[in-house]
């Protein structure tokens, strides 16, 4: 479970969030610069805030600009004890390759395997599907959906259609208002923005 009662500054505005999150996948949506990534950084103690955050440990984080370390795919996985997880997935034939040679989708999957191997109770994932096609995005979302049965998973995304695919509650950033909305309300709100 994650309990958040915090205020933090993004540019010139102050955002206040007071919400409780049970195990599950929560999309974090909102326009550019609305404070989504800053919110994750607050949870991790990487950005100043006032208030209190309670998160079940261990906490894992997959950042927006994730890049594998400059070594092999296998070494990247071994560092997190994630070799076994990857042996059953699409990376199994690429363990000896330099990780920088992976495609964008494969890199994201590598990062995901790494953090999942830590078996976090709270998982923060930031824009990991930003430059992926729908199929690759769906693959990542499916992994997160399955994992969210045992943890609180936050996933920041710019892809509005991600909400339609996963059909889960969302934390919506709209101006100075940040609210946790059930799927139907979040969908209506986002569709109204698009219009």
């Amino acid at each position: 479970m994650v309990q958040v009662d915090i205020s933090f500054r993004v540019d010139s505005k102050v955002l206040t969030i007071n919400e409780t999150f049970e195990n599950g996948l929560y999309l974090i949506v909102g326009p550019n610069g609305s404070g989504k990534t800053t919110f994750l950084r607050c949870l991790l103690g990487l950005h100043p805030y006032e208030g209190a955050v309670q998160m079940d440990a261990p906490v894992a984080y997959l950042p927006q600009h994730y890049e594998p370390l400059h070594t092999s795919v296998g070494d990247n996985l071994a560092l997190f004890g994630a070799l076994e997880i990857a042996r059953e997935g699409p990376l199994r034939a690429k363990l000896h390759l330099p990780a920088l040679r992976l495609s964008g989708g494969e890199k994201a999957l590598l990062g995901l395997y790494q953090v999942l191997a830590l078996q976090p109770k709270t998982l923060l994932v930031d824009e990991v599907t930003a430059h992926m096609d729908q199929q690759a995005s769906r693959q990542i979302e499916q992994v997160l959906l399955e994992y969210s049965q045992q943890a609180v998973v936050f996933m920041v995304t710019h892809q509005w259609d991600a909400l339609l695919r996963v059909q889960r509650s969302a934390l919506v950033f709209a101006g100075t208002v940040v609210r946790k909305l059930p799927y139907d309300s979040a969908q209506s709100l986002i569709l109204s923005w698009k219009e």
Partner: protein, 204 residues
């Protein structure tokens, strides 16, 4: 000539490997790599003859390490080559360390709080070969430090580069040219290797 060739390869490799490994350990341990980078990058341009002078002063009989009796032995030569290679290796390793984006620094800090050192080492691992070859190239053809520390004693501490100088001074141009060609070939090996590995890494 065969001895000089093998001696050059051996000492250069020993010095470069030691420098690269120490540099990797250092770069993965420091918490503010950017601050260290400026210092070591400045030092990497130090004239080799000054390194030779330093080693000479250290190991001469009146020097603080004179009791070791290393001056004009392969050990003093390797020490000089190591000291010459170290700032370059450190600068390259630190530059690689600072190439990690802020997001990845956070990724390591949050997910691997007790294995940060291993993570940074893993990150540097991919660049060890290129760092090795750059430092290797820096000391391979160097004359000043090798002469002052090793004495360029033929068949004992002379390297390809010091031997070329010696033969030229004696007017033995044919031998000097052969040694020069050999040194050229050896010095090209890193470039060929780096080209091939970067070609492979780009996925072609």
């Amino acid at each position: 000539m065969a001895y000089t060739f093998l001696f050059t390869i051996g000492t250069t490799t020993a010095a470069a490997v030691s420098a690269v490994l120490l540099a990797a350990l250092y770069a993965s341990s420091v918490s503010q790599p950017r601050l260290h980078l400026s210092f070591w990058r400045a030092l990497s341009g130090i004239p080799p003859v000054l390194v030779g002078l330093l080693v000479y002063m250290l190991f001469s009989q009146a020097g603080p390490l004179g009791f070791l009796r290393w001056l004009f032995t392969p050990k003093a030569l390797i020490t000089a080559q190591f000291l010459l290679a170290l700032p370059t290796a450190l600068a390259l390793a630190l530059r690689e360390r600072t190439s990690l984006p802020r997001d990845m620094e956070d990724f390591i800090r949050v997910n691997l709080p007790n294995k940060k050192h291993q993570a940074y080492l893993a990150h540097l691992k991919g660049t060890l070969p290129s760092t090795f070859f750059v430092t290797w190239g820096r000391i391979l053809g160097e004359v000043g430090a090798a002469t002052l520390s090793g004495g360029a004693i033929e068949g004992y501490t002379s390297t390809l580069a010091t031997d070329i100088l010696y033969k030229t001074n004696l007017g033995q141009f044919k031998e000097a040219l052969v040694l020069g060609a050999l040194l050229l070939v050896v010095s090209l090996i890193p470039s060929v290797f780096l080209e091939l590995s970067s070609y492979g890494a780009s996925g072609h």
